[in-house]
């Protein structure tokens, strides 16, 4: 057992508003510079939709992630373990068209326009060329089903459905959308790290955060191709790639990452988990349908004395073990099993999990009128307005059972709470719903509390970083204290393309 600690994340999609406050919190702090305009380390997508960059989920196009023959893993983009032999040949990169050309407006014209015969207006101009631009794409272009015929209809997850199911997804009886916020998954088995020819990408030993060294990066962009989630981006000013850093400077000072802190839907949870790195390769070679369970298997019980002993042996700080024991992510993923990784079939083992959303009940047409189909207070989950197969393609590599389990348990919690707070559902009905969902009353109560009532310190259980111990490896912390901040900051040299 090779026990390591990893910061893990959870997004509760049943609560997501799709507001993008997270995206802007991130952008304000990290990617507001020239060269980073188009980078959205955190973005939010409408599903069904094509996402950002467009159709990123379609690996027949982008060749991201790993592929397995049942025994060994290969990086899909190169077919090799590393990209070195192919650094000059990188055909699967998204182009500017797959992202968008950043733009602004000539706002200053409003102040400087001479008196004319009509009102001045600030016209859109490219942030790259400064020239007038026709705005045709953006990082959230298909928001809320905008252009549904072009975008929602081409959602890669929907492509695998039957034509009838696809059609129904935008008919009034079945019409639905929900939101998918995305950041770097800080995967356990990240293709980006494996693909980097320069060794610039690494997982931090203490927390598993995947970082891209701005000194070592040579701008090969192998990581951009290799990441199936398209969460590394090339900075066209510095000539280096950049990616989500999970706000490690904030984490190191005991604060949640900016996108977590700012999540006004209160959908985000963060905490470390302990996992067994020894299992990684074996598990990564299992068939698609087993991957959700396999990944759970890799995550260890932080209360298990054997795990604790192995963790200690690996040098994991006592406080980090304790933190793992309080991790809300551990509960959602491993104990309650209601959170699922996105596209686990990419085999990178994302450390970001999603609680899938309950969606409104479908309806039927009766002589041109609409009638909702449920007959109870709450609808059966299979009567919801999204084909189970669609959600399963997104969250469980097509394994509908895993998906149904997660949804059924969420619904059972609601039924149990309804019974307790209103009483128009009988105790027997509630008990039956719980039993069918493999859920006890105590568990339902815990799920309810963590989902509905959790305050910031319960949503984010941040392990202590013991920075003094890390600094000590380089310099006496006392001297560090006395001299911190003195000196000259240097940013990476500009290498404009």
């Amino acid at each position: 057992m090779d026990v390591r600690s990893q910061i893990a994340m959870l997004f509760h999609l049943d609560k997501c508003i799709g507001c993008h406050t997270c995206s802007i919190a991130c952008k304000n702090i990290w990617t507001d510079r020239e060269g980073t305009e188009y980078m959205w380390w955190n973005n939010v997508e409408t599903k069904p939709g094509t996402g950002f960059p467009t159709q990123w989920e379609d690996q027949s196009k982008y060749k991201g992630g790993w592929e397995s023959d049942g025994k060994t893993l290969k990086i899909k983009s190169t077919g090799k373990g590393r990209i070195v032999p192919n650094i000059f040949h990188n055909p699967n990169l998204p182009s500017l068209d797959d992202y968008y050309e950043p733009w602004t407006y000539k706002y200053s014209d409003l102040f400087t326009a001479p008196e004319g015969d009509d009102q001045p207006t600030a016209i859109p101009v490219s942030k790259i060329t400064g020239e007038p631009i026709e705005v045709k794409a953006g990082p959230n272009w298909d928001d809320d089903l905008g252009g549904s015929k072009i975008y929602a209809a081409n959602d890669p997850n929907a492509k695998k459905l039957s034509p009838e199911q696809q059609m129904q997804m935008t008919a009034i009886e079945r019409l639905v959308f929900f939101y998918l916020p995305r950041i770097c998954n800080h995967c356990l088995n990240p293709t980006c790290v494996a693909a980097c020819p320069s060794g610039a990408l690494y997982k931090r030993g203490e927390d598993g955060i995947v970082l891209l060294n701005q000194e070592r990066c040579r701008g090969w962009r192998a990581c951009v191709s290799a990441c199936p989630y398209k969460k590394t981006y090339f900075n066209w000013v510095t000539g280096k790639s950049e990616k989500c850093i999970l706000c490690f400077p904030r984490l190191e000072s005991g604060q949640a990452p900016a996108c977590f802190h700012s999540c006004v839907g209160r959908i985000r949870y963060l905490g470390n988990v302990l996992y067994d790195a020894d299992k990684l390769t074996e598990i990564a070679n299992r068939p698609d349908s087993e991957l959700v369970e396999a990944q759970r298997e890799m995550i260890l019980d932080p209360h298990d004395p054997a795990v604790i002993a192995a963790a200690r042996k690996n040098g994991i700080h006592e406080a980090v073990i304790e933190s793992a024991q309080r991790s809300p992510v551990y509960k959602f993923v491993k104990v309650w099993k209601i959170a699922l990784p996105p596209h686990v079939e990419f085999r990178t083992f994302p450390m970001l999990f999603y609680v899938p959303p309950l969606l409104p009940v479908m309806s039927t047409q009766v002589d041109g009128r609409l009638d909702n189909v449920n007959d109870g207070l709450f609808a059966e989950i299979d009567q919801a307005r999204a084909p189970m197969a669609y959600l399963a393609n997104l969250f469980s590599a097509g394994n509908e059972g895993k998906l149904r389990y997660a949804l059924r348990k969420q619904m059972a919690v609601r039924i149990a709470r309804r019974q307790a707070t209103v009483g128009d559902i009988s105790m027997e009905t509630a008990d039956r719903a719980l039993a069918e969902a493999d859920c006890t009353r105590e568990e339902a109560d815990e799920i309810y509390r963590l989902t509905a009532l959790a305050s910031e310190d319960e949503r984010f259980v941040i392990p202590p970083f013991q920075r003094e111990m890390a600094i000590e490896m380089v310099e006496d912390p006392q001297e560090w204290k006395q001299s911190a901040g003195f000196g000259f900051r240097a940013s990476p040299q500009e290498k404009r393309l």
Partner: protein, 1213 residues
């Protein structure tokens, strides 16, 4: 160390190899964090931490340190949305107004004039009285050519214009528009205070924005009072209609999601699959604007099953105690049949003939005595000399005997009358049997009376074995308000409705009323919004859901809560010096002054009324004539008041021998009666009636707030415009003076305070650079939560900007300097104000009689506006501005009918400073905004527990029940501005507000009334289901009803517009959007990038295909009022027949030209709107139908608008 067995993945620990990580650590480091918030009209009131690095604001993050409410409620953190978190972009952006600007054409003329006139006032006179010069800068408005100016020049110009306007035309020609004070209350107060000390006019916003739910004053006598969002968590049934919570209540919506986890059911009504629909258990795709039909049928089911068949005791008891259901209504025999009439008043009965204000007390049928009885708590008990009986106890107001009120008379009646009920959907009248009692009145006449409850049962069509046109069953599609009937309007099957109604009723029954309707602009912006609201309110009242935590009507649009109202309103409206203020209902003001009245015929073109009312005074003629009557009779304000300078009116009266206020008033009334003096509204196109100087701050009065924007450009500004409508009113109007041509360019000078170059700034003459929300001190509160927040200066005002407080202070100072010459002595001003809600004027006009036609005497404050003589000391205006005046000490404070003394706190402020001294006296200082903040916090009941205690004590005397215990535990609490900067503070219990919040209890409205038996501020003191004003009887809205939407042909949107190419007529909806708060944020880089780079037009796939439009095509959207050019978003989530352009785009960013309108620059969404008045909302002087600023009056509805849409043939910038 390698990861697992994957040799290519490295886990790196060595800190030496990771020193580069400081690259990102350095970025995160910052120098200072300051708490502020956003003074934007979203009512979010979020606590923000503003991060400063190197003296520059770099980013903002939400504060997480809200005190927690009671256990078991999710916490408020974090609050703050995508818009708020992008605000820092504005500070240093190229849109920032960094210096004062003046329109070049005006600046040149001004410099010339100043060269000739040493006195700025004379210089201004020389320009503004020269028609060519005046037209020169008016024509240039909005056309570029702005020029940077010094503060000195700008202040000279503005102050000179104010002095000249007062001297030449009168102070009531100076108007100011600034919305929603709660969002930055001191910034609002600054301008309002300056204006009111001058005698100028403050324009309302809530009614104009169409956010005032008039059903709220109709039902509760209350502007709006709603649950804080944490209370949604207590609701077990959430019906969301016309409110897109994700969009508009972004920081609150988690409470709804979390309530769902806690077993609450959530149903969303929306024609489109709106963003909040995602959270719903059920999305009910009701046809646009047909929610009223839905609720009418729900009420039919609730009454039938829960009231009649099952006699649910809790529901019936609630109806008896807390609603007007048991009150008696006279049945009136007319030519065509029997109709419900007025409520029976106590003075009609021998037993109560001598009762004080007996015509303002109402009667129930007492089962105990078998006779009619007058319970306590009516408006007559509130305003009589005898106090202590204004409460909800079931006791006879005469002798205190207990009353056992009958809800219905079905088992003990004197007969069944066939009463007329209106079916507007089918344009017919139905007769239904209603049980009645016969009562002998004073003088021996016998009258038939029915209970409100029985009339409701009949109106909703609940068959109780009574004769007449009752529906046979739920499937009777022909009879109004059955589930089957509703289908043809809503498009929703009756089975869904039945299930909904039953789940609703059962939930309320099991939980004691925990059903909440969350409602907003999607309903309230329709012409018949009040009817739709009333229908939903009834579903709450029938199930005992109002005044309960987790229950009630939660109206969220434009609603605000200026929590520390009492001292704030004294400061804002200068009442600490001069009590009467000029407060204008803006809907009327714009309808009249921007000449929108000229473009329509009679309101009867689109307004259905019962045939029996034909010829009635409220159902005849033109809206402007209705409004003129409302002004004459004191129902609504209108400024300017007269076609004469009110200062001159006083001078003339004094010249004629008037010695005092009474003399001046008598003189003025005589002149009004003789028609020598006329109201300005009677001739709005006369130059004597024009508003002359207009201040705009904290708002976008010329664009996002300008319904009929193009008419504003034409009639106010005198510049280019894109409307093609023609005059229609000439043949219809009677009382208004018809001039062949509407006046253009009425306003001399438009002054805008702004931090950004928005449309209003672009079209103004003078733009003053305002500090942003991160650069000034202010206060902010909301009804979405129960905390109060500061705005703080994270950095000083950037470039040459100043806070609003300091700008108005500077204008006041320059004004006073100029006034020293032009008004060396104080002047007297005659102020006309309408009859006021929460005053004895509520009991002034039982019958709406017109003095002008001799139906009654002209009595100020009774049958016509109140007239007050005041003295204005213009040369000391600045000194007064910066001092908290003595009237606060003398008169105490109050609001919403409360009152308390505070001289000890006032004296303490004088003693311990800071103070302003002038004329030998010391006053608490208001020099700095921080002084004003502390003055407000020190003197308000919600932030000073001792004053709350006193205010409850005063209320105890009125009500006759113990109340002061509600503040007992808070008596020692006081809060300062600095406290707020350190942590959000929760508001204290106060009798000014109707929710109780002790011990972390979430605020739910009317819990104070329900639990402590304090009446609502209505006629009966109960919640009103029945509205018996003559106007309501005439228009057929005495009972809740269903009226159809006005059709485009009748509504005059498309009379003069030409269809060119493939076009479609669509209903144009402008709900609140995702990427802006009104127009703020919408043009920023962040929001345009995350959306479509413009505010697009959302269309259905079918409609788009019909006219050859594909996603992202440019479209031209037009009607008689103007034109919009934008891009189309084609989406499956939009139904056919409607299009959506989210409120509200600017014309300043990315707007092309319109080929259909001579290739002029296209406009914004308000280029397509025009306002209309609903006549029954103009009444006054009658209980809850009595004017108060932002409380009552016509609303600026815009939802019924229709447009033509076509593909833009050619893109031209």
């Amino acid at each position: 160390m390698s990861n697992g067995k994957n040799p290519f993945i490295e886990d790196r620990i060595d800190p030496a190899a990771r020193q580069w990580e400081e690259f990102y650590r350095n970025r995160w480091q910052h120098d200072r964090v300051v708490r502020s918030t956003h003074g934007v009209n979203c009512t979010g009131s979020c606590s923000w931490q503003i991060h400063v690095k190197d003296g520059i604001v770099t980013w903002e993050m939400q504060g997480l340190d809200y005190p927690k409410l009671e256990p078991g409620i999710p916490p408020y953190e974090p609050r703050g949305c995508q818009r708020g978190i992008s605000y820092s972009w504005y500070l240093y952006s190229p849109l920032r107004v960094k210096h004062p600007y003046v329109r070049g054409a005006l600046l040149d003329l001004w410099k010339e004039a100043r060269a000739q006139h040493d006195d700025p006032v004379e210089a201004w006179r020389s320009l503004v009285e020269d028609p060519q010069k005046r037209a020169r800068w008016q024509r240039a408005r909005g056309k570029g050519g702005l020029r940077r100016a010094t503060w000195e020049t700008a202040l000279d110009l503005v102050a000179a214009s104010a002095v000249h306007t007062i001297r030449k035309h009168g102070p009531d020609r100076i108007a100011g528009f600034s919305p929603i004070p709660a969002m930055s209350m001191l910034s609002y107060a600054a301008g309002a205070r300056m204006l009111q000390l001058m005698g100028g006019v403050s324009l309302s916003f809530y009614d104009w924005y169409c956010d005032l739910p008039t059903a709220s004053p109709e039902t509760w006598g209350e502007q709006t009072d709603v649950n804080e969002s944490a209370d949604w968590f207590k609701a077990k049934f959430l019906a969301v209609m016309g409110a897109n919570l994700n969009m508009t209540r972004t920081p609150d919506v988690h409470f709804a999601a979390e309530a769902r986890t806690n077993g609450s059911k959530m149903v969303v009504f929306s024609p489109d699959f709106s963003q909040v629909s995602k959270f719903a258990d059920e999305w009910i795709a009701v046809n646009a604007g047909q929610d009223g039909a839905w609720w009418m049928a729900v009420n039919h089911v609730l009454l039938r099953e829960f009231h009649f068949e099952r006699r649910t005791k809790a529901f019936l008891d609630y109806a008896r105690v807390y609603t007007d259901s048991p009150y008696l209504v006279e049945l009136v025999e007319g030519k065509e049949g029997v109709r419900p009439g007025r409520m029976l008043t106590a003075n009609r009965l021998a037993r109560y003939a001598d009762e004080e204000l007996g015509e303002w007390k109402f009667v129930q049928w007492d089962r105990k005595s078998g006779a009619p009885r007058m319970p306590q708590g009516s408006v007559g008990h509130r305003w009589g000399k005898q106090q202590g009986k204004w409460n909800l106890l079931a006791r006879d107001g005469k002798d205190g005997a207990e009353i056992d009120a009958a809800l219905d008379l079905i088992e003990s009646h004197d007969g069944i009358a066939m009463v007329q009920f209106d079916d507007f959907g089918a344009s017919r009248t139905l007769e239904r049997g209603v049980p009645y009692k016969v009562i002998e009145t004073v003088g021996g006449a016998k009258v038939k009376v029915a209970t409100v409850y029985d009339l409701l049962m009949a109106q909703y069509g609940v068959p109780r074995g009574l004769p007449g046109a009752y529906p046979a069953n739920y499937d009777d599609a022909d009879a109004p308000y059955t589930p089957a009937w509703s289908e043809k309007y809503t498009g929703i099957d009756r089975k869904t409705l039945l299930r909904f109604a039953r789940e609703w009723g059962v939930t309320a029954e099991k939980t004691g009323g925990k059903c909440t309707v969350i409602i907003g602009a999607g309903i309230n912006h329709w012409y018949h919004a009040n009817l739709m609201y009333r229908a939903a309110i009834h579903a709450l009242l029938f199930c005992g859901c109002v005044g309960v935590n987790g229950g009630g009507l939660a109206h969220y649009v434009g609603q605000e809560k200026l929590a520390p109202m009492e001292p704030w309103s004294a400061i804002a409206f200068g009442k600490d010096w001069i009590p009467p203020s000029r407060l204008q209902n803006t809907t009327s003001w714009h309808y009249v002054h921007s000449d929108q009245w000229r473009y329509e015929k009679s309101f009867r073109e689109y307004y259905a009324v019962p045939p029996s009312s034909e010829g009635g005074k409220f159902v005849t003629g033109h809206s402007i004539d209705q409004n003129i009557r409302a002004v004459r009779n004191g129902w609504l304000p209108f400024y300017p008041q007269f076609l004469a300078n009110p200062i001159e009116v006083v001078k003339e009266a004094e010249a004629a021998g008037a010695k005092d206020e009474a003399g001046v008033v008598t003189h003025a009334v005589a002149k009004l009666k003789s028609r020598e003096l006329k109201f300005a509204i009677e001739d709005p196109d006369a130059p004597e009636a024009w508003p002359r100087l207009w201040f705009i701050w904290r708002g976008n009065a010329l664009m996002s707030s300008a319904k009929g924007h193009e008419y504003f450009l034409k009639h106010y500004l005198g510049t280019h415009h894109n409307d093609v409508a023609e005059d229609l009113a000439g043949d219809v109007v009677k009382d208004v003076k018809w001039r062949e041509k509407g006046a253009e360019g009425k306003v001399d000078l438009v002054v805008d305070l702004n931090f950004r170059m928005d449309t209003s700034a672009l079209y103004s003459d003078v733009i003053l650079p305002a500090a942003t929300w991160y650069e000034k001190a202010d206060l902010n509160s909301t009804d979405m939560h129960s905390f109060i927040h500061p705005l703080s200066a994270a950095v000083p005002p950037c470039w040459e900007s100043k806070s609003d407080w300091d700008i108005f202070k500077a204008v006041a100072k320059r004004f006073s300097e100029l006034a020293a010459k032009h008004f060396p002595l104080p002047v007297k001003d005659l102020v006309a104000v309408p009859l006021a809600h929460d005053s004895a004027a509520e009991v002034s006009q039982r019958e709406p009689k017109d003095w002008i036609s001799g139906e009654c005497e002209a009595v100020p404050g009774k049958t016509m506006p109140t007239l007050k003589l005041v003295e204005r000391d213009y040369k000391n205006l600045y000194q007064r501005f910066i001092s908290l005046g003595p009237k606060v000490r003398e008169n105490g404070l109050g609001a919403h009918g409360t009152a308390y003394k505070c001289e000890d706190f006032y004296d303490e402020m004088v003693e311990h400073g800071p103070v302003t001294r002038f004329d030998g006296k010391a006053y608490p200082s208001l020099t700095d905004a921080t002084h004003a903040a502390d003055a407000v916090l020190n003197l308000a009941t919600v932030t000073n527990g001792e004053l709350a205690y006193r205010s409850y004590q005063a209320m105890e005397a009125k009500v006759g029940l113990p109340l002061a215990d509600l503040a007992a535990s808070n008596r020692g609490s006081r809060i300062t501005y600095k406290d707020l900067q350190s942590q959000p503070r929760r508001l204290l219990n106060s009798p000014m507000w109707s929710g109780l919040t002790d011990n972390g209890r979430p605020y739910a409205p009317f819990t104070y009334n329900r639990e402590r038996m304090v009446p609502w501020r209505t006629l009966t003191g109960r919640q009103h289901l029945y509205l018996d004003h003559v106007a309501y009887l005439e228009v057929g809205e005495h009972l809740p009803t269903y009226k159809q939407k006005p059709l485009p042909a009748q509504y005059a949107d498309l009379k003069f517009s030409k269809e060119e190419g493939k076009s479609l007529t669509l209903n144009y909806l402008t709900p609140h959007g995702k990427w802006h708060i009104h127009s703020t944020y919408g043009e920023t880089e962040r929001m345009t990038t995350l959306s479509r780079g413009c505010e697009p037009l959302w269309m259905s796939e079918g409609d788009a295909e019909r006219i050859g439009i594909v996603d992202n095509d440019w479209v031209e959207v037009h009607n008689d009022h103007g034109v919009v050019v934008t891009r189309a978003v084609v989406s499956a989530r939009i139904p056919s027949g409607i299009c959506i352009q989210y409120h509200s785009p600017e014309r300043t960013a990315g707007v092309p030209r319109s080929p259909l309108r001579k290739n002029r620059r296209a406009g914004g969404h308000n280029s397509l709107t025009r306002t209309r008045l609903k006549p029954n909302l103009l009444i006054g002087g009658y209980g809850q139908f009595t004017y108060h600023f932002n409380y009552w009056g016509p609303i600026g509805c815009n939802r019924d608008t229709h447009v033509l849409v076509r593909k833009l043939p050619e893109l031209r910038w």
